[in-house]
Amino acid sequence: MTRNDDAELLAELRDLLEAVDAVPEAVLNAARGSYTWRTIDAELAQLAYDSAVDFDLAGVRSGTAGRLITFETDAVTIELDVEPAQGGYRVVGQLAPPQEAGVAIRHSRGMTPVGADALGRFSAEGIAPGPLGVRCELADGSVVVTDWLTL
């Protein structure tokens, strides 16, 4: 087949995909709105472990009822235990090393402030599925935000 035939077929397919499965305007609007979530001067905690997709050392995906998610910076680790519940997910968190901190769960509908106690524990209920992140303001004033992931 000639390059022209290919180009013509691709053009026809492109028109068809545009007609039946174009990116919805609502999705583009959400993408535009995502910009307001960016933080300046915060340290970014990378996703280190997600039991939903990662395998543990034994090569078996975690069998716990909850989903374990871990984010890390050099200074602090943020662990989440996420369980489905009535009205949304229940998120139970732990900071390591244990410390009091201003914690907020970031999700598509906004931010839910929860606060970590002296042992670094925090929890939230009714978190909607979709994008999820955590923001921590530590005692020294520094801010850590986790990478987003899809709950």
């Binding site: 087949m1 035939d5 290919d6 180009a7 013509e8 077929l9 691709l10 053009a11 026809e12 397919l13 492109r14 068809l16 995909l17 007609a19 039946v20 499965d21 174009a22 990116v23 919805p24 609502a26 999705v27 583009l28 959400a30 993408a31 535009r32 995502s34 910009y35 307001t36 979530w37 960016r38 933080t39 300046i40 970014l44 997600d50 939903a52 997709v53 989903r67 489905p84 519940a85 949304g88 997910y89 598509s108 599925p129 979709g130 994008p131 992140g133 935000v145 990478d147 987003w148 992931l149 899809t150």
Partner: protein, 202 residues
């Protein structure tokens, strides 16, 4: 009919522009961010849908991907490669959504995107049948071919690295794979046309 750009392995003219959009967005220029969304919004959606995600799941994957970029836009090591970065991120999130345990709502979510929204009949009956034949043929392609073709078509100037990132295949394989996929698509479409009675003969 607008021309289709075949992916270019060499640096194309728009590369500096993409890098400068990233730099501007990193500095706080919302218009630059919106330009990135305009340019790559279709690609991120196409990657999500290539994994046969439902509308809702695909929307979540897209939003997570763009939220991640918002945080990383000032941290990208190679700003000109934001397209492949977005494609890779969307692919990882799509795989995460596919693999995770069932969601809170636990409603059946078969994401049957291929069955939904066949194009409405247009000017003539023949047109509708031709489009249906092409859609049927596309939906019957391997997931690999569907992903490749969507990735090529979702960006006005696709870079090989983006397509490579979406598929996890080396850049050098893209050309031959594309040719094979198009041949398969053409063959399937021709068969579908015959069975639908939508051949070229009057």
């Amino acid at each position: 009919m607008a021309t289709i750009s075949f992916p270019s392995a060499s640096v194309n003219v728009s590369t500096p522009r993409v890098a400068s959009l990233v730099a501007a967005a990193a500095k706080g220029e919302e218009s630059a961010w919106n330009a990135l969304v305009d340019r790559f919004g279709g690609l991120v959606w196409a990657v999500a849908r290539s994994h046969r995600l439902s509308d809702a799941d695909a929307a979540d994957v897209c939003q997570t991907t763009w939220l991640r970029l918002a945080e990383h836009v000032s941290r990208l090591r190679e700003p000109e490669l934001v397209g492949p970065w977005l494609a890779t991120t969307a692919r990882r999130e799509a795989l995460r959504v596919l693999r995770r345990a069932s969601r809170v709502d636990a409603l059946p979510d078969d994401g049957d995107w291929a069955d939904a929204s066949l194009p409405a009949p247009e000017a003539g009956l023949v047109d509708a049948e031709r489009r249906t034949a092409l859609w049927t043929a596309f939906a019957a392609l391997s997931e690999r071919c569907q992903t490749l073709l969507r990735a090529l078509l979702a960006d006005p100037e696709p870079r090989y690295e983006q397509v490579s990132a979406v598929l996890g295949i080396p850049v050098g394989s893209i050309g031959p794979t594309r040719a094979r996929c198009l041949e398969e698509l053409r063959r399937s479409r021709d068969i579908a046309r015959i069975s639908l009675g939508a051949t070229d003969s009057p």
